[in-house]
């Protein structure tokens, strides 16, 4: 190749002639890989595969699994129903204080989950800002119920969803909304037939993110909803409990969550994120 590398460089495009990667970058990179993979590999290696079925069929595990599935699906549905319109408002409606509202909506993203739980108790607890009138007028109490689990999950997951969908709505472009308007479509029709279909990859990615976040939710849930088997004990809460009594069960259940997480990742990469 030599002199005319630019013309005939077809043999090894993966080898730019910029020199060897320096150790000062390689060593930390290897350390990072070890930090990220060793715990997971240990978990897989240490799982008692032969007793997997027995451990997963205990009633506590089955109840926690069911509650986790229920809460995470309910969370995704709430995100779709409430978060999609919110993302649309943030992306398409120009009003004073929009950036302030966006910031407020995104706070739970960076908030420590325990703080989120305390905030939820303050608002919806029996003596809370909203919880007290709910209790006094309707006899409805939210804390320590499955509803509380779903609310806590939605609180921490929605910002992920809104962020993903708002980004998708912005990159899908307002120009297509203008085209639809010249074709006589009102904004609802435009939203249904143009905006949402174009933002669909973002909606799916956002839903997957929200679902994954909900699956692992622990801090806000245990603070606001407690850890009662059958009503509020989700998989992460169960793992936390079992780690103190039966670490083997904790590892097995963790293994299940790991497999599910990897499944989400694979699904995202292969099906949704690579689509235009």
């Amino acid at each position: 190749m030599g002199n005319n590398a630019g013309v005939t460089s077809v043999s090894s495009p993966g080898q730019p002639r910029l020199g060897r990667p320096p150790l000062v970058l390689l060593v930390p990179a290897v350390l990072a890989v070890l930090l990220l993979t060793v715990p997971l590999v240990s978990l897989v290696a240490d799982t008692p595969w032969n007793r997997l079925r027995a451990q997963l069929s205990s009633s506590a595990v089955r109840e926690a699994l069911w509650l986790t599935v229920l809460a995470s699906v309910a969370t995704v549905v709430l995100c779709l129903l409430l978060g999609t319109p919110l993302a649309w408002v943030l992306a398409r409606v120009d009003f004073p204080g929009r950036s302030l509202l966006r910031a407020a909506v995104l706070v739970p993203l960076v908030l420590p989950p325990v703080v989120a739980g305390v905030a939820l108790v303050t608002a919806l607890g029996r003596t809370g800002f909203v919880g007290k009138p709910l209790d006094e007028w309707f006899g409805v109490t939210i804390p320590y119920t499955t509803t509380a689990v779903v609310i806590a999950h939605t609180f921490v997951s929605m910002p992920f969803y809104v962020l993903a969908v708002e980004g998708a709505l912005r990159s899908a472009g307002e120009e297509y909304d203008a085209v639809a308007a010249t074709l006589g479509a009102d904004r609802w029709t435009t939203f249904r037939r143009v905006t949402l279909p174009l933002a669909l990859p973002g909606v799916l990615a956002g839903a997957a993110l929200a679902w994954a976040r909900s699956l692992g939710e622990f801090g806000a849930t245990i603070t606001f909803a407690g850890n009662y088997p059958g009503t509020t004990q989700t998989m992460p809460s169960l793992i936390y409990t079992e780690l103190q009594s039966d670490p083997l069960v904790a590892r097995t259940v963790s293994m299940v969550l790991l497999v599910v997480s990897i499944g989400v990742l694979v699904l995202l990469r292969n099906r949704w994120l690579t689509r235009p």
Binding site: V179, T182, L183
Partner: protein, 326 residues
């Protein structure tokens, strides 16, 4: 019959007062930033504008975009990428309340008329530029608009593709009874497609007239360049002459030519069999010379020359009043 009356101001972009008749094709020309696209978008209602806009007697100023009977072919087509060509064209009839099957039949009919009927099932990314532009114009027309807005329909197309689309479009526009506003950069579009030319310059409408008149007596440098003419102003008079009537000499010509200017050669470019030379001095002027003359006169950028033109080759005219200036 007057079908379109507009007196619109898009603050900071464009200000224009003009009328157009039923079935008329108006070419809107002017340099980049003159406000052509802004004017189109103001008619569609896509940018805020103040003033008056009446279409077939009905005021449009307070109507939202979707209630204006416009069809717009956007720059870059903007076909909905998730819909097929057929669904793109059927979108308008559907929102107008047509049943699904009826809308699809209307759409297929429009695609057939534009010669892309067999591409109905394709997505926009599977269409070539010319095909996508045909679908885009079909989509704009499928809503039966009273005003058709075409924003640079031939830009980005290969020369041959643009030429054949121009011929087809001329045929469709001839049978279209609404008003067409066609934004273009190309003098050929204005001359072949339009009944009237609106010349915009720096956000103002500076000339209105039939294409031939505007081409023969342009009032802006931009149009002069578009039609390949030199235009000078002398008081309120405009002087125009063709680059081929300009003589280039190495020294001040001794002859009888009244019009003569010294200048510096700025650029040379092939133009048909000739070479078009741009000379900058008191004015920027074009001269067409033979390749032999280029060699003989040693014409190259930076060369000092004299230009002259015979009085008989110069056309003098004054800007008519009532050209839409306000």
């Amino acid at each position: 019959m007057t079908a379109l009356e507009l007196s619109l101001t898009v603050p900071g972009r464009v200000q224009a007062t003009a009328v157009a008749d039923r079935g008329q094709v108006v070419a809107v020309i002017g340099p980049n930033g003159a406000g052509k696209t802004s004017l189109l978008r103001a008619v569609a209602g896509l940018v805020p504008a103040v003033g008056d806009l009446r279409v077939e007697g009905r005021s449009w100023v307070d109507l939202p975009v979707r209630e204006r009977a416009v069809g717009m072919a956007f720059q870059g087509q903007l076909l909905f990428p998730h819909l097929t060509a057929l669904e793109n064209v059927a979108f308008g009839p559907r929102t107008a309340g047509a049943a699904r099957d009826a809308a699809r039949r209307t759409a297929q009919d429009w695609l057939d008329r534009f010669g892309v009927g067999e591409l109905a099932g394709r997505r926009p990314r599977q269409l070539s530029g010319g095909q996508a532009q045909r679908v885009s114009i079909a989509r704009a027309l499928a809503t039966d608009p009273r005003v058709l807005l075409l924003d640079e329909p031939f830009s980005g197309l290969d020369v041959g593709v643009a030429a054949s689309l121009r011929v087809e479009l001329a045929r469709h526009l001839a049978s279209y009874d609404g008003v067409t506003l066609l934004v273009t950069h190309d003098a050929i579009d204005a001359l072949t497609l339009a009944d009237v030319v609106w010349v915009l310059d720096d956000g103002r409408l500076v000339q209105v007239g039939p294409p031939r008149e505007v081409a023969a007596a342009p009032l802006t440098r931009h149009v002069a360049r578009l039609v390949g003419l030199n235009v000078l102003t002398e008081g309120d008079r405009f002087l125009s002459f063709s680059p081929s009537s300009v003589t280039v000499s190495p020294a001040e010509p001794a002859g009888s030519a009244r019009h003569r200017w010294p200048g510096t050669v700025t650029s040379l470019a092939p133009h048909g069999d000739a070479v078009r030379v741009l000379v900058s001095g008191e004015h920027e002027l074009l001269a067409d010379v033979t390749p032999a003359a280029v060699a003989e006169l040693e014409l190259a950028p930076g060369r000092e020359v004299w230009l002259s033109v015979k009085e008989t080759a110069v056309r003098g005219y004054v800007a008519e009043t009532g050209t839409g200036e306000s």
